[in-house]
Symmetry: C2
Subunit: 734 residues, 2 copies
């Protein structure tokens, strides 16, 4: 209260920062351990206090306009006598001139370890807490981590673990480990401070000194205010209003996903060759409801009566698709408002994405119309909505089979490509696909809210470039990810989120580091390509949970051991040595000649005599220190057995029998095939088809298999930990 | 001389380290800036010297047995008066006890920046120089880099650039930039010291303090000796002897690669199904010379007379291939010696690679026989030699066409697989392939020496797990790489080279960091998989040199711009914005609707109307700030034009016409294809075949294309710099 009042006064006075004394008091109010200090106005007073405090002491000039104190000779450290204090006081008084308002007396805090902590506001995610190695080398060393606020104690302590130089937080060279309670209090204090005071843009505590006893002391702090004229974070609507909005959006999306009627504005006669247009796409995919072509220039399209505009339609429709040139979209959108059609997909492009002034203006016009008419708009500049169960598709060549996977994509190209990849490689079909382009009204968070309550959807994949409300996204993903794994491909990591800021804290926060915090905090699974997205989604969908990071690999071929070890190390899996007991048991039916019983197990005989494969898997699966299994098949070699028919036998075994030996643990298949031999390729395609049909993930190469397993294991590990976390987060389970 | 004598004395006395005074003198002898210091034996002397030096000073105990000085209270800093010096002297005298030999007086060196420099010996590469951030947080922060000795000034300064915190070496907070001459002198001095004194195992200079004037001072140094009983680095043979050996090995390999006669010990009747054995492989591939099966148990194999042993042969052969069970290999090798056959490939396994005592013993037996008989052995435990021009193959299903690529592989599986990948994906054929397994006598360095002078070989690919003589490998690769690019897949990065050491320097040097230094120093191109190896080899072989890192991408499809920017950023290429002038020129024939003229250029029309593609490429290729080009083809979309025939037209244009527009700059093609449509797959296969035939590298996906271009550009950039480097390295050009 008092603090808020002081902040307001500083802003009204046109100040960009709080003075040091007020800054420290503010931090102290939030439980952050600041150095004891007193503001004094004459030298006698200073000497008296210094003597009471004990020498040596530090004396600093204080004043609302006093910045760059070191350079202006306003900081005197190591003062070890009353005389020294008196002399320093005079020097500071002179150097400060008219800006001087007093001197700050502090004990001299000593510590070899210097940390930094702070906060700043990100354009997408709002307040972000920072922690890392401090001192004058903070930027040069760059060992800092971020978390999106609010954070709890557990997340604060995870920040510490994540530092490259985490070792210096432990007992170090005769000094005690950093006080973890104090550290958690400091970082969660910054988080609370950010949430309470939107007028505070940045806080920078550097150094945060660690004493020999492990106790923390903030000896210097900079608090930067938002510009007085700038708006604080967009005020969230009251919870009840937000809930009602969300319910309205979910209801609208549900009608758009299961439409009984669709109108296409700008419907054209589908060309026999090339892209058939929106109307043609929907018709060709077999949409069973009423489909109205709107086109004032022709009375019919392929014998179907057209309408000149939406108002002329015999009924309001569940979904309007707009496919006219960009400049004519505002008129079409006004027609939606006039006809009471509130659910719209704008396919057309030529708006903000062009970066041209006219496109940006047009999009602003659309935004105004949509707001006025309370429209729910998917797009513009996007492929729209694909729902196999509703026979709804606004592009070509997609599967009409329904499945457990949903995809929310800012890119229309990625929407089409990812559907093809997931279906073709893993037989993973889709529940709902949203390509939403420029996100005029509906953004990723709206689609997520819908998918969270959609029973058909079990796994959610997302391609994101940016997001309007990063904090909401974080809350949603954290909650939904508990039961429906969320896999995210973040495009534009390198470019996003950068902005100009004044402090250490802000200047070190690239968009990439904040998105990395997002993934750490939500447990969403990050992937780098569409292929990897499908690979991970398949593992998450088809496999039982992984209970650890230990993998055993069965396969054959030179170099496999070294390559497997390198791959595991890259993706963070362990390839534990088999126990002596395990080796002895395996040796009972695997002869030594030509068969290496290590991990990977390079045992030709187990792949040639399939009656050995089950017992081998069974033995391995009973080991407590093995959590998952890869069968690595070198098809060029296996093709030599029975002209490829042996590959079919392996496929059949894995598809139909292997699981009974696995003790509930995951198994995937990885294949290698290099020879330019059509017969081997045909064997490979049969293998993939059999396994896909049986729901066994099958990967091209060991690297992809191990990477997918690693990310799946990380997902399950996160959820296991998250299950025991604070109630403030757990509310999202409801 | 004097130093060597002192070192010898310390070792004879059973010491593991030099004392501080001797250590500093040694470093000073090599031009390393050590703190001025004097050893004093009484307090009066110390006070006198301190007064002359100027206060404050540092006083340390010195003695051959005095280690852990700080903990033992033998270091007193900041002594600012004669009394303080006298007091400290007495305290050190007492604390040192019988081990005390004197006190070291130093000026108090002050600097906010602390570095570390050192050296240690790696098992594979010999002496290695280290440099990084120093002080008490050296290990925790881990910002250190390595170079294999010897190094020159240029390499020393590159180490500085490579630090994460390189910024602190520049002018920093009012202090001067680090004196680069002194830095180079320090690091090259350590390098020379290592070369001169094999008895020195490690040197650790921490901290190396940077003064406000940027000058360096080593205030503390630890010199660790090799154990007195340990041998120094294996003495290299005299240059002349080494040259003769190398010539003998080259001559032997040349006969093995172009044999007129081969004997196969352990020849068996090839089975109709499965692996045909060594004799069958060589015969089936059409070897045109004399091929002698050795088998005492059958008089003939498929009508060809066998011989009971090598001695019975009518002639000595150019190559003996041994393919009998492991325990019988020693007898076969003795038969080689007895029959005067010195060139041998041992296919058999069951030796050191098993990790079992019996296998290790057998390999030692082979080594003794080979040394005694001066044999040249490829293997054991390997696939041996493949030379298409000689119709020589010891496995199955390889191309019989000769080409520019050589492969040296420690793994037999990788040898077979890589041949298939390079030929199938890029039409890259082979000159010589060596699979050499356990490297009984012939190691990677021997094959390299042969390939260096082999006119047929233009590019060399290597799969290495370890190497016997890392320094020789470094010298060779540096030299050969100038004219024949060398691409290396290093297996077992995470496991190799680790050993137990006593200092900062050694403990921070994992095998991975030293191999990274190897790549930095030699300019060899590192790759992570066999696929990438072929992708990079194709770019190096087919493309003209890249003169920079700026790429322009032409393609179509949503998300391509963001994905391309992310990919470029990952691999270290730049995607420069097109100039206004360039955009205006392109706009003359590329209409704005549906065509984004940025970089990537998302211009459908250029791919649809191929008469526009030439002029577009021509305009781009004339820009000084664009160095290379990627044509990104979305085949799922392009298939819609003329049922795939348009893809053929694009392929024909790129294969036969595009190069005339490119101004000598590189162009590659990247394709994406996701739909499960056999017709598109067929179009893709035709595209790949046409481009392969024309020598245009074609990649699956933009990532692979950009990564190959980035590595090619890095290769050319390195060679451009290397061309102007010191003569000591340039001698290898001869």
């Amino acid at each position: 209260m008092n603090t808020a009042h002081q902040i307001a006064e500083f802003r009204q006075a046109g100040r960009h920062t709080l003075n040091e004394a007020v800054s420290k008091q503010l931090l102290a109010d939030y439980g952050i351990p600041v150095v004891r200090e007193t503001v004094l106005h004459n030298a006698d007073e200073a000497c008296r206090h210094a003597a009471a405090l004990g020498f040596p002491v530090v004396l600093k000039g204080v004043g609302d306009r006093l910045t760059h104190k070191t350079e202006r000779n306003l900081v005197h450290i190591g003062l070890d006598s009353a005389d020294a204090v008196r002399e320093a006081f005079a020097a500071i008084r002179t150097a400060g001139g008219d800006d001087w308002q007093g001197c700050l007396l502090q004990p001299m805090v000593v510590g070899r370890r210097e940390l930094v902590a702070g906060l700043f506001r990100d354009a997408q995610f709002g307040p972000v807490v920072m922690f890392g190695l401090g001192g004058i080398f903070t930027e040069a060393i760059g060992d800092v981590v971020f978390r999106i606020a609010p954070i709890d104690e557990r997340q604060a302590l995870q920040m510490a673990e994540e530092l490259t130089a985490a070792a210096i937080l432990e007992a170090f060279r005769g000094e005690a480990a950093v006080d973890r309670d104090q550290l958690a209090t400091t970082l969660t204090g910054l988080s609370r401070l950010a949430m309470d005071h939107p007028q505070i843009a940045e806080v920078d505590i550097n150094p945060l000194i660690v004493g020999a006893d492990g106790r923390l002391t903030a000896v210097d702090a900079l608090v930067v205010l938002t510009a007085a004229q700038s708006t604080p974070d967009p005020a969230s609507p009251a919870p009840e209003a937000r809930r009602q909005d969300a319910q309205a959006i979910i209801a609208a999306l549900d009608r758009m996903c299961r439409p009984r009627s669709i109108a296409v504005v700008g419907a054209s006669r589908p060309k026999p060759d090339g892209f058939p247009g929106m109307y043609g796409c929907i018709r060709n995919f077999g949409f069973p409801g009423n489909l109205y072509p709107i086109n004032p220039n022709t009375p019919e399209i392929d014998g179907v009566q057209t309408y000149p505009d939406l108002v002329s339609l015999p009924e309001p429709v569940d979904l309007v698709v707009i496919s006219v040139p960009g400049p004519r979209v505002p008129a079409a959108l006004r027609d939606c408002v006039a006809s009471g059609n509130q659910r719209v997909h704008i396919f057309s492009s030529g708006f903000k994405e062009t970066g041209e002034p006219e496109g940006i203006r047009l999009q602003e016009e659309l935004a105004a119309i949509a707001a006025e008419g309370a429209l729910h708009v998917v797009g513009p500049n996007c492929m729209g909505i694909h729902v196999p169960a509703s026979r709804l598709l606004t592009w070509v060549n997609a599967s009409d089979i329904s499945g457990p996977l949903a995809f929310v994509s800012q890119s229309g190209g990625h929407a089409q490509d990812f559907c093809n990849i997931a279906v073709r490689k893993f037989g993973l079909h889709f529940s709902k696909v949203f390509s939403y382009g420029n996100a005029l009204t509906l953004d990723s968070t709206d689609f997520l809210a819908y998918l969270a309550q959609d029973d058909e959807t079990r796994i959610i994949a997302m391609y994101l470039e940016g997001v309007k409300d990063g904090r909401l996204l974080r809350e949603q993903v954290t909650a939904i990810n508990r039961t429906k794994p969320i896999v995210i491909l973040k495009g534009g990591m390198t470019a996003s989120g950068a902005r100009t800021v004044a402090s250490h804290t802000g200047s070190m926060a690239g968009g990439e580091k904040i998105w990395r915090a997002f993934f750490r905090q939500t447990g969403a699974v990050p992937v780098a390509t569409l292929d990897e997205m499908a690979e991970v989604a398949a593992a998450l969908h088809y496999l039982p949970p992984c209970h650890g990071r230990n993998v055993a690999i069965l396969g054959t071929g030179g170099g496999i051991g070294v390559a497997a070890a390198d791959s595991c190390s890259r993706v963070g899996l362990a390839l534990p040595a088999l126990t002596d007991e395990m080796m002895q048991q395996l040796r009972r039916f695997i002869p030594p000649a030509g068969n290496m019983i290590r991990n990977p197990i390079d045992a030709h005989i187990v792949l040639l005599q399939l009656e050995l494969l089950g017992p081998t898997l069974q033995l391995l699966a009973q080991a407590d220190d093995l959590d998952m299994f890869v069968l690595s098949l070198h098809l060029d070699w296996l093709q030599n057995m029975e002209a490829g028919a042996h590959i079919d036998k392996i496929a059949a075994f894995v598809a139909h029998q292997a699981r009974q030996y696995l003790n509930g643990k995951p198994l995937v298949v990885a294949w290698r095939q290099y020879q330019p031999n059509p017969a081997i390729q045909a064997s490979r395609e049969r293998l993939e088809a059999t396994l896909k049909e049986a729901g066994v993930p099958v990967y091209e190469g060991l690297d992809r298999a191990l990477s997918a397993l690693a990310k799946t294991a990380a997902y399950h590990a996160f959820q296991k930990t998250a299950a025991g976390q604070s109630t403030s987060e757990r509310q999202w389970d409801n």
